[in-house]
Symmetry: D2
Subunit: 315 residues, 4 copies
Amino acid sequence: MSATKQAPLRFSFLGPAGTFTYAALKQVAPPDSIEIPALDVPMALRLVRSGEADYAVVPIENSVEGGVNATLDALTDGSALQIKAEMLVPIAFSLAVRPGTRREDIRAISTHSHAWAQCRGWIAERLGPVVHVPATSTAAGAKTLAESDSPGFEAALCPPATVKLMGLESLSDDVADNPGAVTRFIMVGLPGPQPERTGADKTTLLVQLPHDEAGALLSMLEQFSARGINLSRIESRPIGDSLGRYAFSIDAEGHLCDERIQAVLIGLHRVCPQVVFLGSYPSASGERIRPRPGTSDADFQAGREFVERLLAGRA
Amino acid sequence: MSATKQAPLRFSFLGPAGTFTYAALKQVAPPDSIEIPALDVPMALRLVRSGEADYAVVPIENSVEGGVNATLDALTDGSALQIKAEMLVPIAFSLAVRPGTRREDIRAISTHSHAWAQCRGWIAERLGPVVHVPATSTAAGAKTLAESDSPGFEAALCPPATVKLMGLESLSDDVADNPGAVTRFIMVGLPGPQPERTGADKTTLLVQLPHDEAGALLSMLEQFSARGINLSRIESRPIGDSLGRYAFSIDAEGHLCDERIQAVLIGLHRVCPQVVFLGSYPSASGERIRPRPGTSDADFQAGREFVERLLAGRA
Amino acid sequence: MSATKQAPLRFSFLGPAGTFTYAALKQVAPPDSIEIPALDVPMALRLVRSGEADYAVVPIENSVEGGVNATLDALTDGSALQIKAEMLVPIAFSLAVRPGTRREDIRAISTHSHAWAQCRGWIAERLGPVVHVPATSTAAGAKTLAESDSPGFEAALCPPATVKLMGLESLSDDVADNPGAVTRFIMVGLPGPQPERTGADKTTLLVQLPHDEAGALLSMLEQFSARGINLSRIESRPIGDSLGRYAFSIDAEGHLCDERIQAVLIGLHRVCPQVVFLGSYPSASGERIRPRPGTSDADFQAGREFVERLLAGRA
Amino acid sequence: MSATKQAPLRFSFLGPAGTFTYAALKQVAPPDSIEIPALDVPMALRLVRSGEADYAVVPIENSVEGGVNATLDALTDGSALQIKAEMLVPIAFSLAVRPGTRREDIRAISTHSHAWAQCRGWIAERLGPVVHVPATSTAAGAKTLAESDSPGFEAALCPPATVKLMGLESLSDDVADNPGAVTRFIMVGLPGPQPERTGADKTTLLVQLPHDEAGALLSMLEQFSARGINLSRIESRPIGDSLGRYAFSIDAEGHLCDERIQAVLIGLHRVCPQVVFLGSYPSASGERIRPRPGTSDADFQAGREFVERLLAGRA
């Protein structure tokens, strides 16, 4: 009997290699995975939809690399996708230079515009007036610095792991105006079995409100409240087809295998014109959910048994 | 093979014969039923609990014969009972006299205190000052008038059907200060299969709120609202064991066989310390319930199938 | 200069003297008051409306003497009235007899039907089978027993204070199937300044829901919830003019002088077709209300000052 | 008598000139205004806080130039600011070239990364594989193209108005993968009198939920619902100080001068630990708000008069 070798997994991601998204990818991709950099978030997701990648890694919240609204919209713009995991990456930059460059040599620094916006205070205070040379990613400037003969700048701001990757040196490893910042990334795949329930899970939904109905948002949220479910994120997203209509992108605490999440999905499906299930997955924080009284699986089961007894004519 | 003759049904009721409760009984009891008058509502219900009667007929709302709060309390004070039907009886009295008596002969009138209170204006206007002689029921005065040699009064106020029953004559058949009044009665039996769903049904519940929780009433009502269920009656009833705690006696529109009623029962069972199901039965008004969008059985089934597809890994 | 003697106050009440309502009257009426017994609750209130009485004392909840629904309806059926006080009276009966009568002599007992219903168990257990002779009130049987030569019964069930009033003796002073029962009475007058705020107050309202609006009850209750106000009583009352429409009789915790009660009244007035204010008065329990965070007068004042600063262009 | 010449207004904006933000600025800035380009949104706002600018123009929603989350956060990170106006700018790009350049000459195109992401499909379909050269803004590429001897690219994607500004030519004026896209900008100033009420207004708030309170979001939204106020935008924003706490950035329909908005502000101020008022201003859509029944100023005034009559002792 011969062993069948498993094909390596293919991961698309908001490229190139060396960005924070890439750091998030490294948290979840097995070592032998095939890495497919994509030019933007919609492209990374398209590769999963077309079967050219098994998973995509993209930013979803507070990104220094853009793509957040793009991600929310691209997730539902096309055939069905589901989130399989979320990853947190601390956002601090390294000031990468070629070996031998000193701080006082730096006149221009290359990085992505968002990254620049998050480090400008630090740079101004420590290096004085230097010029920003925009790059297509947080890794692209470092790459150019390493490879080009005349890059036009003396330093690049990039993720710490990228410095060595590019054969550069770091003059500082925690460049950030707002220390402690973290960005959230997600791993996206085709619909299929959910990651197993851990007790510290999240479920992401896109819910559209019915037309013309005042108090519709409150009614929708009552579906969650009636089952004691907290939301960790809610964002209204305009719907293209008409002024003043909104869908809501929601992260709810719980897993599709939790009875209370199933109950809220049935309720939302009943009263909302569209409910898109975007996956249940372990929350990156790992904080266990303590269900409110009356909302555990056992409570739901007891409730159903109560009704079944009544239907059977027993009080 | 010989046919088995079905035993006649036994009905207890807030007696005696000839009252409005008796008129309600006649709406539901087959002609060959055995009628068991009871002295009060708790006794009528006790006869069902003990198996001495199959059903009890008692007033539940706006009664001229008392017993309403008594009924609400007695329904849940003891082993389980369920409401099987409700009946409406228009409340108008006949002014019953012995043959030969004229209006101007009347000096005293006998009837139940509640009945007197509802006719006093009519009497004062048409008969002038006459004395009230209280009786134990709306039929008892008429009975005494018919049977006693010296009843001590010349007339009795009783339900129209009672006049002939007692061999009396009526001087007027619509004595009432508030014409058009109607009283609601219920038929109560042991737990068992519910009356079939008609699309115009009611479900009666007693729901206790959790201790010490502000906004508890609102949370409880959200369970109904989240399933689009209207309430046709709600009454707070103090709970004996502590000042300031309340249970709620509720009539909800719908039948135990409606998915939305099952869903609300599961929800209430989860969050309330006590939920007593007191029966689903056709509403006497016969007005069909038009479920709000998203609350029909088909909507619930579609919602469950949606969740099942997700659990099976299909989007 | 000569002192002006104040005219004595006139109190109508659900008569006659010697009933539990009379005991409630004695809790609030000054010793020199003029007492005007009325035949029923509407009449007692009518005497206040017409100016023939200053106040009326009538039962409002769990009465042994009837009149509760009658009271709720009569309060709003006519010109405006307001509740000025509430009183609690413990419900236990005395078994009154003429001097010399022994328990074993008793064959028939007279009292009001409601009273009889509340003592029947006690009587049956201790006296065996005795006959009930209905009376127009809980005092009337005792009066007849004291005054009539041949009353037709040997005992009467009446309030304890009535025994001596009628010159009778008591064979037992705590006749009751349900010991510890209490009935609530109210003192009603013409609109005018409210009784002073005590911090343990109630406000009684009758609120009509808008026609044809699903979830109307929830919206109405949200007005209370949005100001953190608990309800100690709520009862749906059918409105005569159409099937399926309801008004709600409500006791809310708080006083008209509380900002949160004023705010809820403004809110109800905005969204409900009819709001009848039936008075703010000290609760008989005397239990102090602890306002929920953010609902004290100071919180409302701080909120208004916040808005005034904004309107003045200061942040 | 001599005329006093008014000093020209100073506008900071997310620079440089020629971007979509600049187009938004042109909608509101008088012709003689002083324009102060800022490197990022926090800087643009800082210039207003420091008094170096009277107003700042920055993107607030769906921007192609980034800065949206940055704007939400920067508005409340520092001394008080208020939104004075909002402006909509249609997002379509011009493909700008030096006179004489033809489509087939284009090998590389410069623009801001976000702009590139929104046009890539259009470009790929019509120009085939071309290289993206990132720029610091949607105007910067065009500027370099116009001014540099060897810019390194043959075309730039920029706002239509920028083509002529830079002395370039346009090969197409509606480059966009998603035609009809619109971005929302705001004009921000120091706290002061609000822009006059137009009947088509918005109010922007940042509201923090109380700690540790389940259902807190629902309670907060009930404050809006109890006054019939619709929200046109809601976004949860994590609060730095603790995992799992959220503030909500909200656009509500209505003006600080509307009674219902004042009432909701008082309510929020009472129950939320922090409420930041960020201005009332005419909505760019100009769609008039039709207040729900019972929520007009007249309804609030009638409600207050009702309470005042009660306080004065009149029913």
